[in-house]
């Protein structure tokens, strides 16, 4: 059995790895979710489980893009205000109908936006450029201008050609995707099943959120934070519990959950404290420890392992560090499980607004806000930068990277940042 000194030695001699290396180690253990067929509107917000191509041309018929007259453009040659082209109106074509007659030289068809062009016609002249006439009791239209051939007409396949790739696997089904899927007749779509997630929060200091405050105790906000983040990332929390600081309880809870869920998240207990139950758990976990220290602040003690082919994330208990750990490691894993090709938060370079002078041995991921002013992109830290300051989570839409070093970064310097998805 290990003495306390030995255990402390293990705790403190963790090998810190780079964030990217940590992400890669996780990625190599990601397994795609099973897929399921859903009715189109129920699939809204989910991710496609297959590549999809256009099953037919769009439009699938030659279509008018305006309310006006379908004509043969050659009939307008030489037309002008003094010498309008006079065309006999031989039919009216409304949307959803099929033209009954071809258009011969000297003829036109009254046509509505979206209606199919009659044979012979190649151009549509909008109503506003025409005048109604009557000659010998028959309806005519006068056009006082030449009109370019093909004007106001959409050709077959002009928007999308048959077999053209539409969506890649892992694409999120947003409103634009729903619209296209509907236009192509997909009543149902094959999407990845939501990752089923267990969330365990650890610590004897945690109160239920309905409880009144007690000295030395805090409410279990991390469970709510993580549940919301999991939901945002397309997963669902199907199991949860508050674990005390007893290792046996943690082992039992994780052991029971692991067969039922696709991924496990814990928060708290990964540090070097005497009661850090998750650090103990990961030290001799059944399975593979991927890492237990990352060269980053906050959340350097973030720990990830794999057991029974399931990823186990040991996030820090500090809300800010828990959040950063989720965004860098858990969200990408959840997105990759749902097929997303590049599941990491998109990186961009922007000007730092204000100084950030605090140095660090590790890269710091500072919760920040981005904005654009006169074509220049800026990021600025939000709130006070302590890993426990939970108020800044709600105000951030990016993580600003401050590289290791003593001096930090100065106002106006270009810094890297990671974009977070936030809707206000």
């Amino acid at each position: 059995m290990l003495g306390r000194k030995d255990v402390l030695h293990l705790k403190w001699n963790r090998q810190a790895i780079d964030v990217v290396e940590a992400q890669n180690r996780i990625q190599s253990h990601v397994r795609l979710q099973k897929s399921e067929d859903l009715a189109l509107l129920r699939a809204f917000g989910r991710r496609l489980a297959e590549d999809m191509a256009a099953p037919h041309d769009m439009p699938h018929f030659v279509r008018s893009g305006m309310d006006g007259f379908a004509v043969r453009s050659e009939d307008l040659r030489g037309a002008g205000a003094r010498r309008p082209a006079l065309l006999e109106v031989v039919q009216t074509i409304s949307c959803g109908t099929v033209p009954t007659l071809p258009i011969r030289s000297g003829q036109a068809a009254r046509i509505m936006t979206g209606a199919p062009l009659p044979d012979g016609a190649d151009t549509v002249v909008m109503f506003e450029m025409t005048e109604d006439r009557e000659l010998g009791g028959r309806p005519f239209v006068a056009v006082k201008k030449e009109v370019e051939r093909g004007k106001n007409v959409s050709l077959i396949g002009e928007e999308i050609k048959r077999s053209e790739p539409l969506f890649g696997i892992g694409t999120r089904i947003n409103a634009g995707e729903v619209s296209l899927l509907a236009a192509f007749g997909h009543e149902r779509v094959r999407v990845f099943a939501k990752p089923r997630v267990a969330v365990f929060t650890t610590g004897s200091e945690l109160l239920d959120i309905g409880s009144p405050l007690q000295p030395g105790k805090i409410r279990n906000s991390n469970f709510y934070l993580l549940s919301s983040l999991v939901q945002e990332a397309g997963g669902e929390v199907v199991r949860s519990a508050v674990l005390s600081d007893r290792i046996e309880q943690a082992k039992r809870a994780i052991d029971q959950a692991i067969g039922e869920v696709d991924l496990i998240i814990t928060s708290g207990g990964v540090s070097v404290g005497d009661y850090d139950v998750m650090a103990d758990f990961f030290r001799d976990m059944p399975g593979t420890l991927l890492f237990n220290k990352v060269a980053m602040r906050p959340g350097s003690v973030t720990t990830v392992g794999v057991s029974q082919n399931k990823l186990l994330f040991g996030l820090s208990g500090n809300p800010g560090a828990c959040f950063v750990g989720f965004e860098l490691f858990v969200r990408p894993a959840l997105l990759a499980m749902q097929g997303k090709k590049d599941p990491y938060p998109p990186k961009f370079r922007a000007h730092l607004h204000g100084d950030f002078t605090k140095g660090n041995v590790f890269t710091r991921f500072v919760r920040g806000r981005s904005f654009i002013r006169e074509g220049r992109a800026f990021v600025e830290p939000v709130g006070r930068e302590q890993s426990s300051v939970s108020v800044s989570i709600k105000d951030s839409d990016c993580l600003i990277l401050i590289p290791p070093g003593r001096r930090g970064k100065q106002d106006g310097e270009l810094v890297e940042a990671l974009k977070l998805d936030v809707i206000r």
Copy 2:
């Protein structure tokens, strides 16, 4: 009764108003939704129906920010590698417990991150800077450095003070908000009820999405587009129908819906075609017509009225124009009904990537993509710019404003753009 010429005169002599004027007219008819109490996690994604302030200080006790030893900083004065301060360890304070003893001069308490500081202590020295000792069978700790008073300690109210404003009415409850609400003990929150919306799509050319293609007909994708957009904006579609081109049917459908829903959207039939049923409907609608022409492309025929205090939006039937009309007018109305303070898509100025040479008499809202490169913000049009090109909806995250004029905008010029909320 009006003859065809009179009707056409009315159709074509619509008075175009500015987008901002149109938005203002709508805004003056927005009424806040009723509110409802929801369990915290069910309120995720909804909007707060009240301003909220912190009910207590956070933290509510003096808290250790590290695993280490709680000390009196004055006891470390003069400490160094050669002459460490030796302090007797009189207790261990884990998270969630309350210290049993005060710390007197010459004493220290072993303390965990998040645990309450004992009386007398003012500073925490992290484990890594200490060495365990034993003197006379009693546990001591050696500290080889002076430590700044207050180091690794969070004071009461340091993150948030009691009564400090937390959230304004209309705030979207994202993960950060959920976390704070949980920390402050809000098991339930008061949010605005989801706006109940009716969506009517018009046109005899519309096929059910499960139907095979027919000549001249298209599938009803706009219903799916609008349903998704409504859901994104926090509403729910509770009524829908496809309307033919018969005015009586449209009147009956809208009349039946208006008592049951908070807002009505139609798509199609607002233009100058012979069968444009919504244009006819709005021409003599019961209630007030707010406008039936907007100085914009696409979607200049977008029409909005108010009847029985409900907003009725007549959007264009072209998917692209329908989308732009939704983003400029319907989404802001839905967000304002849920209390959002500035409900319009945020405006920013960025460099145009590539030329956009097509001029227009009206401001053009071009579906675009934004990106940041080396601190510069760019926008570029997506797809081919025809109002009917539905493929560009899915690829856009902004609308680029091309002001009226002949020459459009050149590569690199600063242009205004409206940010759209998209999660990929």
